[in-house]
Symmetry: C2
């Protein structure tokens, strides 16, 4: 990992603070499969300032469809990053105090190396020639980035859903590099139901004629399959209760049973169609395959030994804040409790909270007040216990 350089920079304009994605380049990344990905690009963003001791950094990990742009506005954007409610001056991840990093996962399509990147051997997009990547591979790439930024130990790793699974992987793979870990609405391994929903999405993509074995980059993309996959995802991200609150059985623009099957009857149908279709403009179908497979394969205990043993090397001073949501039926609270049980089985310092929330799995993107309350003080105590000097 000798050759690298950093591109891009952040700057203020007369319009205010503008966030920019930066890119780090590495020669190679060793993968779990035994293959080597080379070269490697990692897209990332940073917020706030790294202190002199370089010990106030918090790494935020994104979920399936997320990216490095966790907060703030890109030039010209009307909507901020995906967790803007949590990251910024005075917010839970207070950028006046902490240096926040977020990077796009390897295998993704938001700037980091993935199946839509150019394969240097052919000068064409990889497609399925991109090597299979695992969650541990994604985390190994993040470790290179963190090292490049001159950080030896992170004050915290935090994420929801797949981000939480990566946070757990961080603490078990590199225990000495993590002072605290906040896994939210996640699991240490997917249940067959989680695998099943992902698999239906993958089948929808792979059975789309436009998929062509993954080589569609110079032609029509498998938008139909990706739309269906995303629609399935969105149903699982919500809850029965939140959908009743949000849509009820309201009919859209007509009051009688329609005869045209392509028309929209219920508001919930319109919502799903919209969510599915806009997703194709911002996401790559092959990345959807790679990342969901990485999720389904992930097993924190590596299929060997118990979950308790997975945390055997965790340092006793590491702090954990495990959060689940009552209405999350995709990553149900029992999965978070399994993690807590394993942490406690190692005598580790762990706080568990099941937040009463009606938004299902999406609650981690919605429940600003409760998450802020919990995370803000957790990070402050962690900083204090670790003698980290933060401004403010």
């Amino acid at each position: 990992m000798s050759d690298y350089h950093i591109e891009g920079q952040r700057f203020d304009t007369s319009l205010g603070w503008v966030q920019e994605t930066q890119y780090a380049f590495f020669e190679a990344l060793d993968l779990d499969s035994g293959l080597v990905l080379s070269p490697v690009t990692i897209a990332y963003e940073t917020y706030g300032r790294l202190n002199e001791a370089r010990d106030n950094a918090v790494l935020i990990l994104h979920a399936l469809s997320g990216d490095a742009h966790v907060a703030g506005y890109h030039r010209g954007d009307s909507r901020p990053g995906w967790w803007d409610m949590m990251v910024g001056p005075g917010k839970a991840f207070d950028t006046n105090k902490y240096f926040v990093i977020c990077s796009n996962v390897i295998g993704g399509c938001k700037g980091s190396s993935g199946p839509c990147s150019l394969n240097p051997e052919t000068n064409e997009p990889y497609g399925l020639r991109f090597p299979v990547v695992t969650l541990p591979d994604m985390v190994r790439a993040q470790k290179m980035l963190v090292g490049l930024l001159g950080i030896e130990r992170l004050l915290g790793v935090c994420g929801g859903s797949m981000g939480g699974m990566q946070a757990l992987q961080w603490v078990t793979a590199y225990p000495e590099m993590v002072a605290s870990c906040i896994p939210i609405a996640c699991t240490h391994k997917h249940s067959p139901m989680q695998i099943a929903f992902n698999e239906v999405g993958r089948q929808a993509i792979m059975r789309d004629r436009n998929w062509r074995g993954g080589d569609y980059y110079d032609a029509e993309a498998p938008d139909t399959g990706l739309t269906i996959a995303r629609m399935i995802g969105h149903v699982t991200y919500l809850s029965d209760e939140s959908m009743r609150d949000k849509f009820g059985r309201r009919l859209r623009g007509k009051e009688v049973f329609g005869f045209d099957f392509e028309s929209i009857d219920f508001e919930v149908e319109s919502y799903l169609k919209h969510q599915g279709e806009v997703f194709t403009r911002r996401f790559d179908a092959n990345s959807y395959l790679y990342i969901t497979k990485a999720l389904d394969y992930f097993d924190l205990s590596n299929g060997q030994g118990t979950l308790v043993q997975a945390f055997a090397d965790t340092l006793p001073e590491t702090r954990f804040l495990v959060i689940a949501f009552s209405s999350d039926w995709l990553y149900p609270p029992y999965q978070s409790k399994d993690i807590v049980r394993a942490l406690k089985g190692n005598g580790l310092d762990c706080t568990y909270l099941e937040i009463k929330a009606s938004y299902g799995h999406d609650s981690f993107l919605v429940e600003k007040e409760q998450l802020t309350l919990l995370i803000k003080s957790f990070l402050e105590v962690t900083a204090r216990r670790n003698g980290v000097k933060v401004a403010g």
Copy 2:
């Protein structure tokens, strides 16, 4: 409804009892839309013998993908009808005592008139020119069949899922014709989540290029879309727990992370793929659209008044047995409890049971012992109270 005749007959062979589907033909059926379906074919099967008083008939209603073949074997079949565990001599619906009827719904593809039937105006399959049908339309067609069989009052109407919704429609539309009602694992109207899952399935079908606006009968069928729709269905029919018991995270035939995305890794993936693919051999995609729309539109109170008011005309002597399953998250027990509350609000005779079962929505096709225990005695008491003479 003047012209009709009955075709088909049942017979015993040296191989034992063999069940055959019969067909009833009607001139016309008035539909909720104001249109008239003409002519009308209804596929049905009967089991046991109608007594002299013609008052021992029980009508069983099938679910989304079911048909008239509820029990026994068709000639040459290796598998019996879809609820064979419940219907037969000595079983819950004891064919030594009761005359059991089951018919395929209008809009279906198992012998009754539906979008794959020939449109008499064009002599080609209807496709989307088949009129929209509702659950009340399906029940109105069943009423014609019951009348044709010379039955004025049914001892019971019973079904699971969509079948339960039809049973409820029967008792509210034709209260004087029903002595008892057994709605299982159902609801009086779909929640937005139920609509959402159906809608994703419909979108998968309608976005399949082979769908061609429903006119695919002389070409390749939209098998991809129908396969995806069925896979989504199957995930929702199971429960997290039953999937863990059934599949765990077992890998299929290999122990390492595969590189071929078309291959199967987990057993649950193989199960879903199989279920999705075999479905295309026995079901018509247009029927899937019509029937799921009928389900989503169904509202027992017709959107007017409360659910309590929907049962206002129900006869006080009508008996109800409402059954839900603890792990059914597609038709959760709270939906059955809403029905019970409305029945009790009318002072009606209602027994409610939430069966502890791990199979999710599919429990109604699995929980033989518990269902038999409940239904057998419920029917016996109903027969006794109504002075119905049954053999045995």
